[in-house]
């Protein structure tokens, strides 16, 4: 590790890369979790007979 980050400023360099990795990971997880949640909800709605295809083709991204 000292090869990569040095010894004098190890804490500063490692924490910079650490916080970057953490925030990027949180962003990726947030997007994927939302994607799964919305897909599940849409599947449940479709099971009730409400089609998202109709919502999408109906002409708005709001689907209104």
């Amino acid at each position: 590790m000292s090869e990569l980050f040095g010894t004098k400023y190890f804490g500063f360099i490692a924490s910079s890369y650490g916080i970057t990795a953490l925030v990027l990971l949180i962003m990726v997880v947030w997007v994927i979790v939302n994607q799964r949640r919305f897909r599940r909800q849409l599947a449940e709605m479709e099971a009730l007979g409400y089609s998202r295809v109709k919502a999408a083709k109906s002409g708005t991204v709001d689907g209104e």
């Binding site: 004098k8 910079s16 970057t20 925030v23 962003m27 919305f38 209104e64």
Partner: protein, 268 residues
């Protein structure tokens, strides 16, 4: 069970009209099909660029003044670039909402905001960590740092605005106006190091007379910049797809609620 789009006047500003051209490209179904095709490519490019950028970054020699802390630059500067780049995506979206009433414009802006806020936070955090050993302080209220903090506040304010207004067309227009007003902060951030006395160093890459960095530092930085760009594009496309699904769910839930009303016994 069809879902009409023409009878509900609350969201009719976002409707796709019969106009050909750009409206055809705005069709969510076509957009989602495009995302399905390009997303795997973007993911692979992002991973490859991150791997190469990190390898080059950690192979770079120590700077003669900053020593090994120069390696913080390879995550700090790309984060700052993407923080401002995300805002420019939102500015494009705001123009799309107000000028062309593009159906995906508000979706693009809204999806970019949390990503931009995250990159701005990263820029502030890594900059603060870099500043401590180089400047001897974690924070100073100079023009560059303060204007960048304002950018984070603008992002958070916009996210709050979108969440606080239920009616989509109204929130889209209000957010678009705020985005355009807030855009004045972008050149202030960029040129603050030239206009004001600040601890922050002047621009060393995007300069009229070319980059001032040595190639050993410039190439890893540019590759990490590209990696962050593709990461943003990947996450932005996914977030836009999520936002489209969220709006479809909202529409279907409202339709479901309307259909349930006659049997509920309540008189509306």
């Amino acid at each position: 069970m069809s879902i009409s789009t023409t009878t509900d006047k609350t969201d009719n500003s976002a409707q796709i009209t019969a106009r050909p051209g750009i409206s055809a490209l705005a069709n969510p179904t076509r957009f989602l099909a495009l995302v399905r095709v390009v997303l795997p490519f973007f993911v692979l490019v992002t991973i490859a660029l991150l791997a190469v950028g990190l390898w080059l970054g950690f192979s770079a020699p120590d700077d003669y003044q900053q020593g090994r802390t120069v390696r913080i630059m390879f995550v700090h500067v790309p984060a700052v670039w993407m923080a401002m780049g995300s805002y420019m995506v939102m500015v494009s979206g705001a123009l799309g909402v107000l000028v062309w009433r593009h159906p995906l414009a508000d979706v693009a802006s809204r999806a970019a905001a949390p990503l931009g806020a995250a990159f701005t936070f990263l820029g502030l955090a890594t900059g603060s960590i870099w500043g401590r050993p180089m400047w001897g302080t974690w924070w100073i209220w100079d023009a560059r740092l303060t204007s960048f903090l304002i950018l984070l506040i603008i992002y958070l304010g916009l996210i709050a605005l979108w969440r606080s207004i239920e009616e989509p067309a109204r929130s889209a227009r209000m957010a678009a106006v705020v985005i355009l007003v807030g855009a004045i902060n972008i050149p202030i951030i960029k040129f603050s190091v030239d206009w004001f006395t600040t601890l922050h160093q002047p621009a060393s890459v995007l300069r009229s007379d070319g980059p001032a960095l040595a190639p050993e530092f410039l190439y890893p930085l540019l590759i990490m910049g590209l990696a962050f760009l593709f990461l943003f594009l990947t996450l932005h496309l996914m977030a836009m797809r999520n936002e489209i699904m969220r709006r479809q769910i909202r529409t279907l839930q409202r339709k479901l609620a309307r259909n349930r009303k006659p049997t509920s016994g309540h008189v509306s």
